[in-house]
Symmetry: C2
């Protein structure tokens, strides 16, 4: 495993009072990194506060350490730790930001703006991989809750060791976690398989509406207003449901329409390489990236379908002639 | 990583002609173990034949080495290798079994009957973990196809590193595979996420029919004859679909009814610890284990529901009073 720069380790060793901040809508990597880091620093007799946005997803609420989140903050800290957070603006922060001697950024996002006084930025599967290596360098003993936190972070940010961000180090760290606890089977099930009844029924409704446009590799799904009001509300439902289309063999482009008010749709588009659905989202006044974009839509759904088919035809011809 | 016994390594080094056999209906671990082992032996200039049952699941058909399966067999081999196969009877074998000097069994099943002249049996996540360690001991260079084969085997038999059979060694081996190839993201998607349209629609139909019995943690699903004939036929559909129930938060017992002929049902039952649905399957003339059982059923579905609720009530009271 790669070595953590000495100045980062020195900063953590030499200081006493820490505040941990995460990005807005914290995910498994953010929460897991915060807990492992926070408990590690406490083991070294440091004082640690957390300031973290709620709600936290149900599946992450099992950590005992969460009861230490968002207690009375101090006016001054030695170090404010920005974790898993690509810019300072994206951090969830107190309205009146406490003073600090050092802003330390620990993150794995390529796009990180290096906005700290000290920056520990590496392109890893999860920020928690960096945290694990920091804890090792600090000679911290990783207890079961910290192991669960690091596992949760890695497992969620790598899609259970499936995404292209997994490296040799990811698995070496996982192998070390199995020396702390012999099984992460229950935790994995909690993180990846289980859905509540509403999420399950929403997925079913999406599959039921799944339509392939004119033999093209385009999946088109509509969740109508009735379905949304009956089963909607859960935080991460749209990603899950858009995946229904993208996980169907032969599909390269997915459009998911959610009827948020009668006749008004929120459209999520997904594309696989080399297709680019960014332009069509811009045309309808939305935004996003090449492979994931969205926009609000009122109008004739049949025309939207035709637009999508047109985009596919243009782009597929372009790639055929290369 | 644990050492492979010398006698196993000697047997592979000293002999020249090998036949590889697998269990019936070979899965990812069987196919992956066979390919990695077969290609490893060929690298050492051994002669290797494979005798393997078809069909092989679509998702596994991408290996080039499959074109070497089931060619003309010899009458005599030095070694017949039984891989991932808990008993000799469970092996898919030629009608007229070739003669051999040595039967060598390589397997990870607890229930293995040690039916070989030499047995290399260890309780690992996948048989391919043992194969990896054998190949290392033989100083074989693992090429990309062999790495894909071992990854496929481990990834499928551990549910993408989620099951309780994963150990420190599983992740150490995975970390080594990332030194051969930098990403297994496409392969993981192929193995775990993608469903064909029929499988997707069948899952949707199962979710649509999903019913919770009288506020108890029992999921009841019926795939009617129309749905079965429209979308049925794929090999592994029942496990996938029964998981719809078991993956719903709050569900401990799932009954999936497939109407295989009008009015005739194949019932699959699943239970989570500590529930036992074996007895009810026996009562209806079926069989299985505590947590997974099945039977054929014609009759009043409402009575079956009542029986299931009765089983739950009895068992839950029993556990409450302990």
């Amino acid at each position: 495993m790669k070595k953590i720069p000495d100045e980062i380790i020195e900063c953590l060793k030499e200081n006493q009072n820490f505040l941990i901040l995460l990005h807005q809508k914290p995910d498994g990597d953010a929460i897991g990194s915060a807990i492992a880091m926070g408990k590690g620093l406490k083991q070294l007799n440091k004082s640690v506060d957390y300031y973290i946005e709620f709600p936290i997803e149900d599946k992450l609420l099992f950590f005992n350490e969460i009861k230490c989140f968002n207690q009375q903050l101090q006016e001054n800290y030695d170090v404010i730790l920005f974790m898993d957070c690509s810019t300072g603006e994206f951090a969830f922060s107190p309205e009146k930001m406490p003073k600090t001697k050092v802003k330390l950024v620990i993150d794995h996002h390529k796009s990180n703006a290096h906005y700290g006084d000290l920056n520990c930025i590496e392109i890893t599967g999860a920020t928690a991989e960096i945290v694990f290596r920091i804890l090792r360098a600090l000679d911290v003993t990783i207890d079961e809750e910290m192991a669960d936190a690091i596992f949760t972070a890695i497992s969620t940010d790598t899609g259970s060791f499936q995404f292209s961000n997994v490296t040799t180090d990811t698995h070496i760290i996982a192998s070390e976690l199995y020396k702390v606890k012999p099984s992460y089977a229950h935790l994995s099930k909690r993180l990846h398989s289980q859905k509540n009844m509403d999420q399950m029924k929403m997925t079913g409704a999406a599959i039921h509406s799944l339509e392939i446009l004119d033999s093209m590799p385009i999946a088109f799904m509509v969740l109508d207003y009735d379905t949304i009001t009956k089963f909607g509300g859960s935080i991460n439902i749209s990603d899950d449901v858009a995946n229904v289309g993208q996980n169907t063999i032969g599909v390269d482009i997915t459009a998911l329409l959610k009827e948020v008010r009668p006749g008004e749709y929120r459209v999520s588009l997904r594309a696989k390489f080399p297709y680019d659905i960014h332009e069509i989202a811009l045309k309808y006044g939305g935004g996003g990236h090449e492979r994931a974009a969205g926009f609000n839509f009122t109008g004739d759904i049949e025309l939207l379908k035709e637009d999508l088919m047109e985009v596919y035809k243009e782009q597929s011809e372009q790639y055929e002639t290369v």
